[in-house]
């Protein structure tokens, strides 16, 4: 074996772990969650594809409004919202249920009992999302951002979530061993925060509407926290799990992990009010949001530093491992997007970026460049262990990586630059409004190009995934993990 491959931790290879008994235990846990986890990943990928098609339609419409313009159910407001909900509740939640619960089970060293319930809850979650997305396209959309799913579908979602989430909490309750790892804090907290946010938002906006702009306050408390207290902790838990696993090296600093976790828990959930800067709400509310947004610099720097110090000096392995290539891309994006986010909360910056495509770019940097890329990494790590098979094609993984990373970079640059210009021009009343609209068009076209690239990546991912899932015979014979760069010949 060459030196190079020796430096990849044995744990990249699911068949070999130094310690036989640990391996057997993990194997038993993996086996117990396999069906449910596979169901969630398959659903996640299904929604990813649906969400991608909806996204492309919305993107084309934004510069070519007559495109599919005659169909009411495909009008911009609806496809765009169907896209968001398919991605948030279909892709993101399913992939969280798969990867997050799997990591939780492994870290708690508890096998999954009552898998039937988990599976049924998973199925009903997906039925709920399907009803919701169809409802949006049919026009029963609520027009409340991030809560577009019609009222009749949400109790089903809440109920299925409760069954799924409780399962994660139970795994934690019956965990073995003393040590609680940082990923477990994040997952446990997120499993608890999400339903609280969702139920309050549903209650105060949809079921028993609060008076006037209180709704907007609840709306942005919810919507920003879906990112901050649900997607973010789950993705960070994944990063914290896969980096040490693949590199075979512990997280740099326990204390930074603690600090990062608690500062996120304390500051993030006030930050959403920055969406209302300049709006018809009391100034103190907005100021609280601004302060919290700026304080977010602490968890972001701390977590970034911790991750960086863990991988430092091992960049070649990061580059070779599909898992880490994606996860580290995501982790770096987290730092960048969060710092941009903090500065967007400053009133002087917000005056320009608010109400423009800049915000859309920022959202995609968070949800895609960070969250989704990390979760791709998580799936690349989890699948070989669940199926005891390797990814069939390194080429497709590479294609996925390049299409996704270049695609999302183009999107982020286009929307940030285009949005900034849009904001500056909008604030200059000497420029006729229609001109500012026309000036966004080239940037929106660039966004469509980026969308096509992302689509290529997603298709490559899906092909590789289903190839792995179904083409068992051919794939099973591979013994070595699928890595992305060739080993160098020993000198």
């Amino acid at each position: 074996m060459s030196n190079e491959s020796h430096r990849i931790s044995p744990s990249t290879n699911p068949y070999s772990s130094e310690d036989g008994s640990v391996r057997a235990e993990l194997s038993a846990i993996d086996a117990s969650i396999r069906t449910a986890a596979l169901f969630f990943v398959v659903s996640a990928i299904g929604w990813l594809m649906i969400g991608t098609v909806l996204a492309l339609m919305a993107a084309f419409k934004s510069h070519d409004p007559d495109f599919l313009g005659a169909y009411e159910w495909l009008t911009f407001g609806r496809v765009r919202s169907a896209h968001l909900n398919a991605m948030a509740f279909g892709w993101a939640n399913n992939v969280i249920f798969a990867v997050g619960l799997w990591i939780m089970a492994r870290l708690c060293r508890s096998t999954v009992d009552h898998k039937g319930i988990l599976l049924i809850a998973g199925i009903s979650w997906n039925i709920g999302v399907t009803i919701g997305v169809l409802g949006i396209l049919r026009g029963e959309i609520t027009s409340v951002e991030w809560l577009e799913i019609p009222q009749y579908a949400t109790p089903m979602l809440a109920l299925s979530y409760a069954l799924i989430g409780v399962w994660g909490v139970m795994a934690f309750r019956f965990r073995k061993g003393d040590h609680v790892y940082v990923s477990q804090w994040y997952i446990l907290a997120a499993l608890f925060w999400f339903p609280w946010l969702y139920i309050v938002a549903q209650a105060m906006i949809i079921w028993f509407p609060a008076r006037g702009v209180v709704q907007a306050v609840v709306n942005w408390w919810f919507a920003h926290n879906v990112l901050g207290l649900w997607l973010t902790p789950m993705a960070l838990a994944t990063v914290y799990y896969v980096i040490p696993k693949v590199l075979g090296r512990p997280i740099h600093s326990y204390y930074l992990s603690v600090l990062g976790f608690w500062s996120l828990a304390i500051f993030y959930n006030w930050a959403g009010m920055h969406h209302l800067i300049g709006g018809p709400v009391p100034v103190w509310l907005v100021s609280a949001g601004i302060v919290a947004s700026v304080m977010m610099v602490i968890p972001v720097i701390v977590v970034g530093l911790n991750h960086h110090m863990t991988v430092v000096g091992r960049h070649r392995e990061v580059w070779r491992s599909p898992t880490l290539r994606f996860a580290v891309f995501g982790a770096i994006s987290y730092t960048i997007t969060s710092l941009i986010g903090s500065s967007m909360a400053l009133r002087s910056v917000n005056e320009v970026t608010h109400f423009t495509h800049f915000t859309v770019g920022h959202a995609h940097q968070g949800v895609y460049a960070f969250f989704t890329m990390v979760m791709f990494g998580g799936v690349y790590y989890m699948m070989p262990r669940l199926l005891k098979r390797e990814w069939p094609s390194a080429g497709l993984i590479s294609l996925h990586f390049w299409a996704a990373s270049i695609g999302i970079t183009i999107m982020i640059v286009a929307l940030h630059v285009g949005g900034w210009i849009q904001g500056l021009q909008m604030n200059n009343s000497e420029i006729p409004f229609i001109e500012t609209v026309e000036n966004t068009v080239p940037w929106l076209k660039a966004r469509s190009v980026s969308g096509l690239l992302l689509t290529v990546g997603h298709v490559a991912f899906a092909i590789n995934f289903f190839w792995m899932l179904f083409a068992a015979g051919a794939v099973r014979s591979r013994q070595e993990p699928t890595l992305l760069t060739k080993e160098r010949k020993p000198v």
């Binding site: 409004p65 765009r80 925060w193 709400v281 604030n427």
Partner: protein, 225 residues
């Protein structure tokens, strides 16, 4: 971290803190806000206390029935994803300079709305006061042409067309008085012998748009002279 009660409490209080700080406190401060007269007068009992004027209209006004239906159409079609309904104060952005309103909007402007549509995106202009810009029959006609296909009146617009809110039909006897009145050489005009008429939903939507006007003062937000 081994001390689990601490972990649990921390997780709980982190969110409880912002929930009470933002949501409950916000609700306490704003949840009881009522419509008001444009100005306040000193109370008869205690001249230091300002009260609403007896017999004066209280703003904001409720929506008419048809406008309320139009709001539902606005919600169903997702206009909010490109249009805000909030006017920022002078000096912050150019909302007033662009003629999007006469004054900034404040919390009280929204107290009658069962669904608040502040919005966060301005692909198109703010609509909080759009009824002040397009009013009366001329405003109605403009909005119908615009909704049928924005290119008719705003070439270069990226706003989607809403042709499904209109019906194209053969003119049987007389043309309908409601038929859209296209500019002479418009490429969107129907072929000769046909006319395009708004459906009930289009009519409701336009009534809603015309009703969006912030042309009244509030004690905390007077329209500057």
């Amino acid at each position: 971290m081994k001390n689990l009660p601490t972990l649990f409490c921390g997780i709980f209080f982190a969110l409880a803190f912002s929930f009470s700080g933002l949501i409950l406190t916000g609700h306490i401060q704003l949840g009881g806000l009522e419509p008001s007269t444009e100005t306040l007068v000193p109370s008869d009992d205690d001249p230091n206390v300002m009260v609403m004027e007896e017999g004066q209209t209280r703003y904001p006004l409720p929506l008419s029935g048809i406008a309320q239906q139009g709001k539902q159409v606005y919600i169903e079609l997702g206009c909010i994803y490109c249009h805000t309904q909030q006017i920022r104060r002078p000096g912050f952005g150019a909302d007033i300079e662009r003629g999007w309103g006469l004054r900034q909007t404040v919390a009280r402007d929204y107290v009658r709305q069962d669904r608040v549509l502040l919005g966060t995106m301005r692909t198109g202009p703010d609509l909080a006061h759009v009824g002040g810009r397009y009013a009366g029959d001329a405003g109605r006609d403009w909005n119908h042409l615009h909704l049928y296909n924005p290119q008719t009146v705003s070439p270069g617009s990226t706003m989607p067309p809403y042709p499904f809110l209109y019906e194209t039909r053969e003119i049987i006897n007389e043309p309908s008085p409601k038929a859209l009145d296209f500019p002479a050489d418009s490429e969107y005009a129907p072929p000769p012998g046909y006319e395009i008429v708004p459906t009930r939903r289009a009519e409701a939507l336009v009534e809603y748009l015309l009703s969006l006007r912030v042309d009244y003062s509030l004690p905390e937000a007077p329209i500057p002279e």
